[in-house]
């Protein structure tokens, strides 16, 4: 690891030296260029113009290399420390796009268009944004064709490697199907989607002739499943096209707004000179348009339909894969789910039993406490009774006790004694463990 950090430090030092050299050189050329303009006619091309361009190009390449190397190094240094999804966000290649655009938008004196990276600057912000939203933005890329395409590739791998009946027909079907999704990845614009959908629809009809033709045996169910998957794929492509068109349109509006803002700022002699200002302006102006659209019912519905179409297709593909794997001893998701459901129910039952047990224990304790309290009361009564008896006996012996009182005590005493004599036995039985012989 130490070597890695040393390598990093060396690389950074070289990069910074080179950067400083180029920056100074660029600034010098710029100053000379300005002086050239001031001393000559406005439209005259200065002699050092090509050199300025070259320096600008070098600067940009230097910056691009930095972005790419930085990304690689962060991945290497932090790959085991940060969540993968966080690392994905460190997308420095985007910075170079901004930088290119920023340089491209710098104004030269005399109204001369900056010829840096001619034709490659922020000429088409909508395509950049559209591409970004569909392929780089995590939410869209989750549902996007790229993601689904990967899943399908895995599925095709499973299906083609299995003992799936149908031979060549299925093999051809999968290959063509995969081809359509490959095209979807690279399709843009209304016409492109319309053409692709038309092609897919024609192919689907041809396939249905084979797949839905009367068949016997195990292939019948498989064919119907495949036909359903193709129908759902068509729905998905349609939903994808609708979503793409909406995003493309939004990106175009957003790009136009951003460019209009740039012009406005330039006319007011407040062009975003700093890179950070340029980025902030870009984010602010574009996001305002996106959020406006995102808040609309149209977007919510389109997004809902897009997600639903993708999920329906995913469910069908999962089901196809499970049917194939069903013949193997591999545990399927549904097996795990079934086990999870049973375990969860057992946990609930266990909790319920535990609660009941706790309640019974509480009731038992309350009963025990009541018995103990009764015992105490009996013991006190017994002690009091014994005392009374003793006193009575003493009184009888001394012959001083009145006859009436003695008679009453004498009548009641045996009954009380009998009751109190039984109490301890009853108590001791309750306290003894089950199976202990009674006294």
């Amino acid at each position: 690891m130490q070597d890695f950090f040393k390598q990093q430090a060396d690389w950074l030092k070289t990069w910074q030296d080179q950067q400083e050299k180029l920056t100074k050189q660029y600034a010098n050329w710029g100053e000379e260029l300005t002086q050239g303009f001031q001393g000559a006619t406005r439209q005259k091309m200065p002699t050092n113009f090509e050199e300025l361009l070259k320096t600008q190009q070098d600067l940009f390449e230097q910056f691009s290399n930095f972005g790419a190397t930085l990304q690689k190094n962060i991945q290497q240094a932090w790959g085991d420390k940060l969540p993968t999804d966080l690392l994905k966000q460190f997308n420095f290649t985007l910075l170079q796009e901004f930088y290119k655009s920023w340089l491209g938008n710098m104004k030269f004196p005399g109204g001369l268009q900056n010829p840096f990276m001619a034709g490659q600057n922020w000429a088409d912000p909508s395509s950049f944004l559209n591409n970004f939203m569909q392929t780089e933005h995590p939410f869209f890329s989750t549902f996007s064709n790229r993601n689904l395409h990967e899943e399908m590739q895995k599925l095709f791998g499973i299906l083609q490697g299995s003992a799936f009946g149908g031979g060549d027909l299925y093999s051809q079907l999968f290959t063509t199907y995969q081809g359509f999704f490959n095209q979807l990845t690279n399709t843009a614009g209304q016409q492109g989607f319309d053409k692709l959908l038309e092609g897919f629809n024609n192919w689907k009809e041809q396939m249905d002739n084979y797949l839905l033709a009367p068949q016997v045996g195990i292939n019948r169910e498989t064919s119907q499943d495949c036909s359903k998957a193709i129908s759902l794929s068509l729905d998905y492509m349609q939903a994808f096209a609708n979503m793409s068109k909406l995003l493309e349109e939004t990106a175009r509006k957003a790009g136009n707004r951003f460019q209009a803002k740039l012009v406005e700022r330039s006319l007011n002699n407040e062009p975003p000179i700093k890179f950070s200002d340029f980025c902030s302006l870009w984010t602010q102006e574009n996001e305002a348009v996106f959020l406006d659209v995102f808040g609309s019912k149209e977007f919510a519905t389109t997004q809902g339909e897009f997600a639903a179409a993708g999920l329906r297709l995913k469910i069908q593909l999962n089901s196809l894969a499970e049917k194939v794997l069903d013949q193997t001893p591999i545990a399927l998701k549904r097996d795990v789910d079934l086990a999870a459901k049973e375990i969860m129910q057992l946990k609930r039952d266990l909790r319920k039993s535990r609660k009941q047990q706790e309640q019974l224990a509480a009731e038992a304790k309350a009963a025990q406490d009541a018995v103990a309290a009764s015992e105490q009361r009996f013991e006190k009564l017994e002690a009091a009774l014994t005392k009374v008896q003793d006193l009575t006996e003493k009184a009888e012996q001394s012959g001083k006790a009145p006859t009436t009182r003695r008679t009453k005590s004498a009548e009641k005493a045996p009954t009380k004694r009998a009751t109190s004599a039984k109490s301890p036995k009853t108590t001791s039985r309750t306290k003894k463990p089950a199976g202990t012989p009674a006294e």
Partner: protein, 353 residues
């Protein structure tokens, strides 16, 4: 500003940008592991992945009635204890509160059939019973955050005798509003399909929909801004801690998400008095204990109106709202808010125990 000055300024900024990147990479290479939730705590009860922690007291005089914090399932509770100088939990402890916290853990495929009833009438109830037993109390304070606030409200309505005071923070209660894009989108999402397809819905998918609330600020601009703070090792560490929290999103148990999305987001059953849990109707009028409703004025995830509507439906007369001029996350990380939030909660609680 003339051209030469503009160019000079641009070049100066570019040089600073490059310098920051260089220092930033050095800082990244030498930074320690990112750690969140460092305030000292003890595990006091658990049921599988779900755990109950008690935080170590930090004040001499401690409130006799403990407070149980219930955080959302969609993110991790570590937001409440991001770092020592940004920790709502630490601040509450400093204010003499006896703090317990539920950690829902990370759901996996085995939680496919876990329900809201299992969580609220099950684990939450067990935790409260445990705390009551330990402290020999009949009721404790409940502080629910975000989705945890919704759970706490439901619990308080079902078991009012076990809740002495209810505090909700940035909690969605009324889902009728269209003030949040999430509320708008969720009404058009077929959650049944999502659960059939995924079973346990990936946390990343949920997280990405939060990023869509500010699609370019959160995915591009934030990382451009990062370059400016990379040169400062402390600021970079703060940034990485926050990023670690953002991307630490547990997967969502299918049945919990289904009821949350359908009964709450789509049909708004809680405020209509139609929400059911474990076969029992949840009537917010049963909330007879004092209620403190805290919300963020600029919350784009849970609009203020959704939170503060709670006070219209509860049965208690002792109810109060408290707002801060921040966003959803700002409630927990803004230094200004943190300076007053915990003292205000502690003061409100101490007047009612």
């Amino acid at each position: 500003m003339n051209y030469a000055e503009q160019l000079q300024e641009s070049m100066e900024e570019f040089k600073n940008f490059a310098d920051n990147l260089k220092k930033g990479v050095e800082n990244l290479a030498s930074a320690d592991e990112i750690k969140l939730g460092q305030t000292e705590k003890e595990l006091v009860y658990e049921d599988g992945k779900r755990k109950l922690y008690r935080y170590k007291a930090r004040a001499d005089k401690v409130c006799p009635v403990p407070t149980l914090i219930v955080y959302a399932m969609v993110n991790r509770y570590t937001m409440l204890d991001l770092q020592p100088n940004r920790s709502m939990i630490r601040n509450l402890l400093d204010q003499g509160q006896d703090v317990y916290l539920i950690d829902w853990g990370y759901a996996d495929r085995m939680d496919r059939y876990l329900t809201m009833d299992d969580l609220i009438n099950g684990f939450m109830d067990d935790c409260i019973a445990h705390i009551c037993q330990q402290h020999q109390l009949d009721a404790i304070n409940l502080l629910g955050v975000c989705q945890g606030g919704t759970f706490s409200t439901i619990y308080a309505a079902l078991h009012p005798e076990k809740v002495q005071n209810l505090i909700t923070m940035v909690a969605p209660i009324d889902f009728e509003t269209d003030d949040s894009l999430l509320f708008v989108w969720s009404k058009q999402m077929d959650v049944d399909l999502m659960i059939d397809a995924y079973g346990v819905v990936p946390g990343d998918l949920m997280n990405q929909s939060y990023q869509m609330l500010q699609p370019l600020t959160l995915t591009v601009q934030k990382y451009v801004n990062m370059v400016d703070l990379m040169a400062d090792a402390d600021k970079l560490a703060d940034f990485l801690r926050m990023e670690s929290w953002i991307f630490d999103s547990p997967d969502q148990p299918g049945e919990v998400l289904r009821q949350n999305a359908k009964d709450l987001f789509k049909e708004n059953k809680l405020v209509k008095g139609e929400f059911e849990l474990g076969g029992q109707k949840v009537d917010l009028k049963n909330i007879s204990m004092p209620v403190l409703c805290i919300y963020a004025d600029y919350d784009t995830l849970v609009p203020p109106i959704s939170s503060k509507k709670l006070l219209e439906y509860v049965g208690t007369k002792d109810k109060q709202e408290l707002s801060f001029p921040v966003g959803h996350v700002g409630m927990f990380v803004s230094g200004k808010t943190q300076a007053t939030l915990a003292p205000r909660i502690a003061e409100w609680v101490s007047q009612r125990v």
